[in-house]
């Protein structure tokens, strides 16, 4: 309890906690869950994008998307490394992802169905992710905070590219414009869900905020996202699929409809449109790759042994 108070005091003073410092089990567990989930999201998130890498409409867009996917795999690496400082290996976390013990962001359980979805994912999904992540640059755990600083810089780049891609559609032929609107229709509410359930229903929140693992409330961030995104949609000439969306002069914010939270919980339970296929893809990649990992390991051992023998 004394230790706990000292720990909390450090956090309150804005100090960073480092891997070798003492920390409460709950803090460690919560961080592992959160960082792991974030890492998994980077990896699983490449699947809906990979779905269009092979169908990108120009060489330039294809290159941009490949670079993005490469960045995301890189983010996955940083985050797994950050989580490893808490005493859990990348392989362990991968196994937990593959057998369903650990989650990834539910947004990636929605399909990417037309090219404009790739734009929408950059604009809305990365946009919402950044909104979640920017405050986390100030999170209390040092390695996590440093990873977030690196990641946020690249993410905002991705968001601009995504916006540019959907803008090209929105300004294009009627069919392209239809793609852009269709993408917005399908991704709007799932993006709002990315901030988590309304504050009243959110578990884990209070303690996480005290520990500065979480900085803002879900509803705060959601409002901020809506306020930022609506004018962008208007600029594109697209219609946000919400009849109740209206600027509230008094609040200085947009009023908007809540997403269908029963759908959110369905997706979390595994009933999203792509849950099964996403996990099956990751499992297949992992299983098919077993011989490669084993082969590389065996070779590395042979080389190390040969080196020792030569010394």
């Amino acid at each position: 309890p004394e230790k706990l108070a000292a720990f909390q005091a450090r956090i309150d003073a804005g100090e960073k906690i480092e891997p070798k410092d003492w920390m409460p089990q709950g803090y460690r567990k919560t961080l592992i869950r959160q960082i792991g989930q974030h890492a998994h999201s980077e990896i699983v998130g490449t699947l809906p994008e990979g779905n269009w890498v092979t169908r990108a409409p120009t060489l330039e867009r294809k290159a941009i998307l490949l670079a993005k996917v490469q960045d995301e795999a890189g983010h996955g690496l940083y985050l797994y490394c950050a989580a490893e400082t808490l005493g859990v290996s990348r392989d362990e976390m991968t196994e937990m992802l593959l057998d369903g013990r650990m989650k990834y962001s539910s947004i990636f359980n929605y399909p990417s169905l037309n090219w404009a979805d790739i734009g929408a994912i950059g604009w809305l999904v990365d946009g919402a992710a950044i909104m979640n992540q920017v405050p986390l640059q100030r999170t209390s755990y040092g390695p996590y905070s440093r990873a977030m600083i690196r990641i946020c810089k690249e993410e905002s780049f991705h968001q601009r590219q995504g916006y540019d891609a959907i803008r090209a559609c929105a300004e294009g032929t009627p069919a392209q414009k239809k793609m852009a609107q269709d993408a917005l229709n399908r991704f709007w509410y799932p993006s709002l869900m990315m901030f988590g359930p309304p504050d009243g229903d959110s578990v884990h929140s209070e303690q996480s905020m005290a520990w500065k693992i979480k900085i803002n409330t879900n509803d705060e961030l959601r409002q901020k996202f809506v306020d930022q995104t609506v004018p962008q949609a208007e600029f594109l000439g697209l219609t946000v699929p919400d009849e109740n969306l209206k600027w509230n002069e008094e609040r200085g914010h947009y009023d908007f409809s809540q997403p269908d939270w029963s759908e959110f919980f369905d997706v979390i339970k595994g009933n999203g449109p792509c849950n099964v296929d996403r996990l099956a893809d990751r499992n297949k990649a992992w299983d098919d790759g077993a011989w490669v990992r084993e082969g590389m390991l065996a070779h590395a051992r042979k080389k190390a042994a040969a080196k020792v023998a030569a010394e």
Partner: protein, 253 residues
């Protein structure tokens, strides 16, 4: 064939090799055996797409009919592609993908080194830029072939199978035809047939380290570089690659 026509063919050959192989690698997106390989594969694909933009962009200029790199990439049918058959072969397992990569990188690195000294300034410039990327690709694919060839029994068997499957597609990279003759005469590009010894030495060295045996049968499948007979695989690749452009030809992306 005029010199310009030959140059157009030559540039398509260069650009189609990188376009098609880049596309094949990009099919791995999110499915690699380990995260580091995911990163490496998308990086390689990215390099190839970049090189494609240069080669096909220049090809379009040389042709002079207003086709840019995208138009060439997304609006030609299989018979107009000039890539060697090797690069259109399917990914198969990771071993087949990386073996294909090495067999191509080895040729690519030798060939590009000659192009740096091309009499055509644009060709020399593109080759110069690409050569660093290609050297890195070769280093990486050679290392991986060695690691997996000299890894476990299973990885060895898979790599040998990949080599046996792909080796018949090596010979085409060294065939010379009238396009090459024009390029040689103009000092633009080397005679591919003169590069085989250097290639064989390099491949032999890596396969020795990888404890893999090069097949004795030197029969060479051909028809990709000239466009006379691609494999059935290319058409399917184009179905995905060109889908959007074909379905929405008026789009601005």
């Amino acid at each position: 064939m005029t010199r310009n026509e030959a140059l157009f063919e030559f540039l398509q050959r260069m650009g189609d090799n990188t376009l098609i192989l880049g596309h094949r690698i990009s099919e791995w997106c999110g499915m690699a055996p380990v995260l580091e390989e995911d990163i490496a594969l998308s990086n390689t694909a990215l390099d190839f797409i970049g090189q494609t933009q240069f080669w096909l962009g220049y090809a379009g200029e040389v042709e002079g009919e207003g086709r840019d790199a995208d138009r060439l990439a997304f609006h030609r049918d299989a018979w107009d592609f000039r890539n060697v058959l090797l690069v259109e072969m399917p990914n198969g397992d990771f071993g087949q993908t990386i073996m294909r990569q090495f067999l191509f990188d080895a040729w690519h690195s030798i060939y590009i080194a000659r192009l740096i000294k091309s009499s055509d300034a644009r060709v020399a410039e593109i080759a110069e830029k690409a050569s660093k990327e290609i050297a890195y690709h070769l280093e990486r694919s050679a290392d991986t072939v060695v690691a997996l060839g000299d890894g476990t029994e299973e990885s060895h068997a898979r790599m040998q199978k990949a080599l046996d499957y792909l080796y018949p597609y090596v010979g085409e990279m060294f065939l010379s035809d009238e396009v090459d003759a024009e390029m040689i005469a103009a000092g633009i590009a080397p005679d591919p047939s003169t590069l085989r010894d250097e290639y064989d030495a390099l491949v032999q060295k890596v396969m020795d380290e990888a404890t893999l045996s090069i097949p004795g049968n030197r029969f060479a499948q051909k028809g990709g570089k000239t466009g006379t007979m691609h494999t059935e695989h290319l058409g399917h690749l184009l179905c995905s690659m060109q889908w959007l452009q074909r379905a929405y030809p008026d789009g601005n992306w």
